[in-house]
Amino acid sequence: MLCCRRLALNLICLGLLVFIVAACLESDVVAQLSDDAGAREFRVPTDSNRIVLSLERKTTPAELPPRVDVYADGRVVCHDNEGKASGLAHNLDFIVVEELLRQAVSTGLLEADSRELARRQRDLTREYIDDAPIFIYDFSVDAYRLDGELKDTHAHQVGLIAPILFKNSEAFMADPQMRTLVELAETLEGYRQEASQ
């Protein structure tokens, strides 16, 4: 009898544990952004296999993995030329994931006409760089609200000439969105460098 009660108790505890874990997995990362365009809120489910932000270089030095992915659960994974995971660079806290996404959103990468960002880079720099790496920003946000209105899932891919190369351009860095883009690229480039060591 005692054995049965203990078994039942264990089953209850196990069920409770499963419930708690499931609840945790379903809870979302929520981040707020408020800027000239108004208040925004975006939410990232903590689905462990969901890539929320990645940076890929179309041309990259051989010694560096070409792609670094940030997963919703905080993993930062680099991928080799054939798309295979080549190293775990980090396990980020949710708050860092939130910050990266906040940065990404504040750049305007998720705006309806994401071409505008490319045009602005072009207009601000007024130059082109042959042989420069092209950075492909690729990220998804499961729910994205603008001015309180719930939008559908967004998955965007945006390519830009390596923004870091324009860091010395006063006009470029005076633009808040471009400056944030540089910071974001530097962070992700840092992860890539660490993964290669």
Binding site: R57, P61, R122, D130, D131, A132, P133, A155, H156, I161
Partner: protein, 368 residues
């Protein structure tokens, strides 16, 4: 529902031809704007800084900024582009991405300056891209789904087919010039290098490719081997994964592309009116007087860069058929060649191995 938008930018500066920045999304591509904000097309042709319709002679000065070790490699690269003597056996260590991990080593400063001056001074682009955007034609690793490398299994060869999205889709536009007689980028013929002997049209019905060829052969090292040449590659080949190879003189393909541009707006050597031109590079010790600066700097991981301004129309053209553009200087007032300051560099100017083995083909033309 997934809402998606995709676009990317890429250099379309082409061999003897041009372009600037391409913006693509699911609806298609825009090929960038010129300095007047006009949209450009992918078949535009770019000319060096200083070009105008009847300029005849263009002189561009090149300096080395605060990097004395770069002087000798830069002077050698200047000589190479001035002589325009094509060479075979011009590449040590050339390799394609499918050959696996890259051996560690120093990067050759002369090779990097030569390539970047190909952009900044000669207005050349890369010859191994399709639609000016996707480097499918240099490697069996990159973008394999976008091309069929044919029976020879060599990417970039004459029996390739390159597609816009996937096999079965329309063929991608070929933007590099090929010789109609033989489609061999490693041979420099005596016939005029202009539109009477070169074409970009690979259309199976209206194009000028010889025999059963389906694509303009690229001057990459594997295609060279296929055609019976060893250790040969075009200077303006873009390596997806930079490798520390060493180049000698430009290849025939590089020279052909330069000469195509110099046949002028009418694309005819000695045509009427005669708008052919030439370009002479000189070394200038005072950078305040130079058009092109060579220096070390940050490159975001690239081996080297050419920083330039947007392209501008050199003369009035039909708005519906704008074709010719010239390079402009960047916001600093220069055309800047930048080598990666974070790499280890070899500044020697000896094309060592082939010279020692008695094969001087890629070495002796310009290393005087």
């Amino acid at each position: 529902m997934i809402a998606s938008a995709a676009f990317w930018l890429h250099d379309l500066l082409w061999s003897g031809t041009y372009i600037g920045i391409i913006v693509c999304n699911l609806l298609g591509c825009e090929f960038g704007e010129d300095t007047n904000g006009n949209q450009m097309n992918e078949f535009a042709i770019v000319h060096p800084f200083g070009y105008s319709e009847f300029v005849g002679q263009i002189e561009l000065s090149v300096c080395v900024d605060s990097s004395p070790p770069l002087v000798a490699p830069t002077e050698r690269a200047i000589r190479s582009w001035n002589k325009l003597v094509p060479a075979l056996f011009n590449c040590q260590g050339c390799r394609t991405a499918e050959e696996g991990p890259v051996p560690a080593g120093q990067y050759d400063a002369y090779t990097a300056v030569l390539h970047e001056l190909g952009h900044c001074a000669m207005a050349l682009g890369h010859f191994n891209l399709i639609d000016g955007t996707t480097p499918t034609s240099f490697s069996n690793v990159a973008f394999p789904a976008l091309s069929d490398d044919g029976l020879d299994d060599v990417r970039g060869s004459a029996d390739d087919e390159h597609f816009i999205v996937a096999p079965g889709d329309p063929l991608a536009d070929n933007l590099t010039w090929f010789r109609e007689a033989d489609n061999d980028p490693f041979i420099l013929h005596n016939d005029p290098i202009d539109s009477s002997s070169f074409s970009r049209n690979v259309n199976p019905f209206t194009g000028e490719l010889p025999g059963d060829d389906t694509w303009a052969a690229n001057a990459n090292v594997r295609v060279a081997e296929l055609l019976g040449y060893s250790q040969s590659q075009g200077v303006m080949y873009i390596a997806q994964f930079p490798v520390p190879y060493r180049l000698g003189a430009p290849s025939s393909d590089d020279v052909n592309m330069v000469m195509m541009a110099r046949s002028g707006a009418n694309q005819a050597v000695g045509g009427v009116p005669d708008d052919d031109y030439s370009v002479t590079l000189t070394y200038e010790s005072d950078c305040t007087m130079a058009d092109i600066r060579v220096q070390f700097g940050e490159t975001a991981g690239a081996v080297g860069l050419c920083r330039r301004g947007f392209l501008e129309e050199p003369f009035m053209q039909n708005p519906l058929f704008r074709t010719h553009y010239r390079m402009t200087k960047n916001s600093s007032g220069f055309l800047d060649v930048v080598l990666d300051i974070n790499r280890s560099w070899d500044f020697s100017t000896i094309f060592a191995d082939s010279f020692e083995s008695g094969n001087c083909g890629g070495w002796d033309e310009e290393a005087q």
